[in-house]
């Protein structure tokens, strides 16, 4: 996989924080210089990409100076020390306005950091700003928010995917080397696939969601977006508040390629490119598994019922008092969400438990499952239909189709950038067994070397 470049790139394009950390410690660069490089890249690229919705140079440079001073005193806080990091704008920060992408929270200033942000701060990272989220994270396209649409670094006419739209665009374009995202149905993995970054959704409840604006409490996850798996792993350790357990170096022996079409239509070129990448990574371990086909529709319905009821619960008073302060598309989703019945929600909870059990049985026969992260490449901003093969399908349903099941099951799942189709990035999704976050990250960090 050769390193094709997006139309415009920033300082951190393709860089690993492992390299940056070495340079910092060798005295070849300072955190202030890295932070200034990030600020310069943002200044240059953000007018085009709309990835950052809030940046504060003095705040960031003050953090960087502190990081440099600590390192000079021999106080090394670890691999994130002095590294510029972006935070999705649905995650609370005490020093940045946090809008959740919504006019309801225009200018809102939280009192406290989210717990995950606090951990990132304690690890010495320089929080450089907040990145665009689809309004209330309730949309997978990243083109509806208080601040408008984020733009894809590979073609600014196109969506980034969402809802962690700005985080993926910021890392993909090289404005920052690392960002925090959230993922309720694919919101880390979708923009990672469409923008060409590594995006990791950990196991459910592995990273605390305190201080993250809820979308759907039984499906919400926080995770890293990065250029490299190893970088994602290092940020994950900080977010989870623990070191990864060392994993055996063994090649995964049983990798299930989920039969194409199990989760809905897939663009033929995307499918070919992703399958080829999977073959290169896993060789003979790759075998086809058609066992998801019978479960896919039921898992989608179950997730939708849980998500709708939980999402409306969060917004009930706002929908009553100020419905027109929502983006019309988000409001329409909430209106549908209002109608889920209590008994249907209870059924969905029971179904979720059954699907989790079924998936645990499937993972007795596979080490990993793989599929495209997203079955298409990025569509144009505001487009809502896309032709896949012979069918016109809904863009939002399409981009969510391959990721959301793993929110329902709560399994660790990573999207890897495995090349381009028609000039736009495509992602390979690799799913691990329950609780096997460390193993998934370590195995993929070893196997997946970015071209």
């Amino acid at each position: 996989m050769s390193l094709v470049k997006p139309t415009h790139t920033g300082y951190f394009f393709g860089l690993s924080i492992v390299t940056l950390a070495e340079r910092l410690r060798a005295g070849n660069v300072t955190s202030v210089e890295l932070t200034q490089a990030a600020l310069d890249s943002i200044e240059r690229l953000n007018p085009l990409l709309n990835a950052f919705v809030s940046v504060d140079a003095p705040v960031a440079l003050a953090l960087a100076r502190k990081a440099d001073a600590l390192l000079a005193q021999g106080q090394d806080l670890g691999p994130l020390h002095g590294i510029p990091v972006a935070v999705k704008d649905n995650i609370d920060t005490f020093d940045y306005v946090t809008t959740y992408g919504s006019a309801h929270f225009d200018g809102f200033q939280p009192d406290h950091d989210a717990l995950c942000v606090q951990r990132v701060r304690e690890a010495g990272a320089v929080i450089i700003g907040k990145t665009l989220t689809h309004e209330f994270a309730y949309g997978p396209t990243g083109d509806r928010s208080l601040q408008g649409a984020a733009r894809n670094p590979w073609d600014a006419r196109c969506i980034t995917g969402g809802s962690s739209a700005g985080s993926a665009a910021a890392v993909a374009s090289g404005m920052v080397p690392l960002a925090l995202g959230t993922d309720t149905g694919g919101s880390i993995r979708i923009p990672s696939a469409l923008c060409g970054t590594v995006g990791f959704k950990p196991s459910f409840a592995c990273v605390p969601v305190e201080g993250v604006f809820p979308l759907s409490s039984s499906l919400d996850h926080v995770g890293p977006i990065a250029n490299h798996v190893e970088d994602a792993r290092l940020l994950f350790e900080v977010l989870a508040g623990r070191a990864c357990a060392p994993a055996a170096n063994a090649q995964p022996l049983r990798v299930g390629w989920i039969t194409s079409g199990s989760f809905g239509p897939v663009d033929a070129e995307v499918n070919r490119q992703v399958y080829q990448a999977a073959q290169q990574l896993f060789g003979d371990a790759l075998q086809e598994t058609d066992e998801l086909q019978t479960m896919a529709a039921g898992m989608k319905d179950t997730l939708q019922t849980l998500q709708r009821a939980e999402a409306f619960e969060v917004h009930a008073e706002r929908m009553r008092d100020a419905p027109h302060t929502f983006d019309p598309e988000v409001r329409e989703r909430l209106e549908v969400s209002r109608e889920v019945k209590g008994w249907q929600y209870i059924r969905a909870q029971a179904s979720q438990a059954q699907y989790k059990a079924a998936m645990a049985r499937l993972f007795e026969r596979y080490d990993l499952l793989v599929s495209p992260s997203v079955p298409i490449t990025a569509t144009e901003v505001n487009a809502r239909e896309v032709r896949v093969g012979e069918q016109d399908i809904d863009v939002r349903a399409a981009v969510l189709s391959h990721t959301s099941a793993w929110n329902l099951i709560g399994l660790p799942s990573i999207s890897l950038p495995v090349g381009h189709v028609r000039g736009m990035p495509v992602g390979l999704q690799v799913i691990g067994a329950a609780g096997e976050d460390d193993r998934l990250l370590q195995v993929m960090s070893r196997l997946f070397v970015r071209g």
Copy 2:
């Protein structure tokens, strides 16, 4: 408290299973004789009271013969060995038809015993038949079921209360000394209060509900109905599958009398009688607490939301396919239940957690809380309004008003027969702190001696 007698009584009226167990082991009576006495009492009284919906003399006598044979061989299974016990007809029994009080299950024969029945059987009890339940246990009056209305032993024109209608009537009248009931909003304690038995709702999840037809999974409880607290305690140990921990003999020092009216209107005579009984039992430890007043309405709404959504989930397909097979009153409740929204159910779950926390704080200042179990005496069968003071109130709302909060909170709660008002029994409800089932039973077994 003098032992007033109901109009007609059976062999076991007022008897303790402790006494019966002594007689059995002294060779003064056999299990076959006790079982035959129960069968004779049922034959005589059941045409009037409609407490039992299914009795099988040969099955019961075979169990009794086996119990006698085991005792003769020196195999003593404990205090329930050889004792006739009745089981509410919403609890599965492999050897008795189990209708759940509904025409949907007319003639239904479960494959297996409920886990609680299995435990009672393994303790050597003689299961003598099934007792009337309000249809699907979804009603607190006990006068709507496939088998009609149960009748109050003290006045057969009146309701028993429900939904464990037949179990309370069977014990109160002396057909059996012990019965199993279930309680989702008061279904053990209400008929116990209205019929004059001891009825105990354990802490939530203390007794397994496997094999019990669900009404509302987050509120359902299984528990004993008996003549004496000690008998209830002995059956509870079997149901819970563990011996009670020994409790200190100390008198409770801080007993909170819940300010009358906190949970709705109370008949003045009932209030006087119950308060007087509480004074006799607790003396100076009794003090008034008005802290429930502000929570009562919210707790009721929360319980109702949980119960409705969960109840409809159980019956969704029956309501779609055969709505007219339900009793019209139960169907009407289910129609209302269908309309609870998912987001409201989620809110109610959150409220339940908050009320549990508030109640835990309250119990830091009290050992026990007490109130009337039911604010009125038994009304006439099919009556749906009752005058309390100056108000006409709904009978079903009235009988549930003082018990249902303790299902929401999941606290152990017992109804004690503390005399009569206008010739009909009234009950004192005593509520213990979370998980303090053993202490509540042991303290009340010592303090409360039936007149």
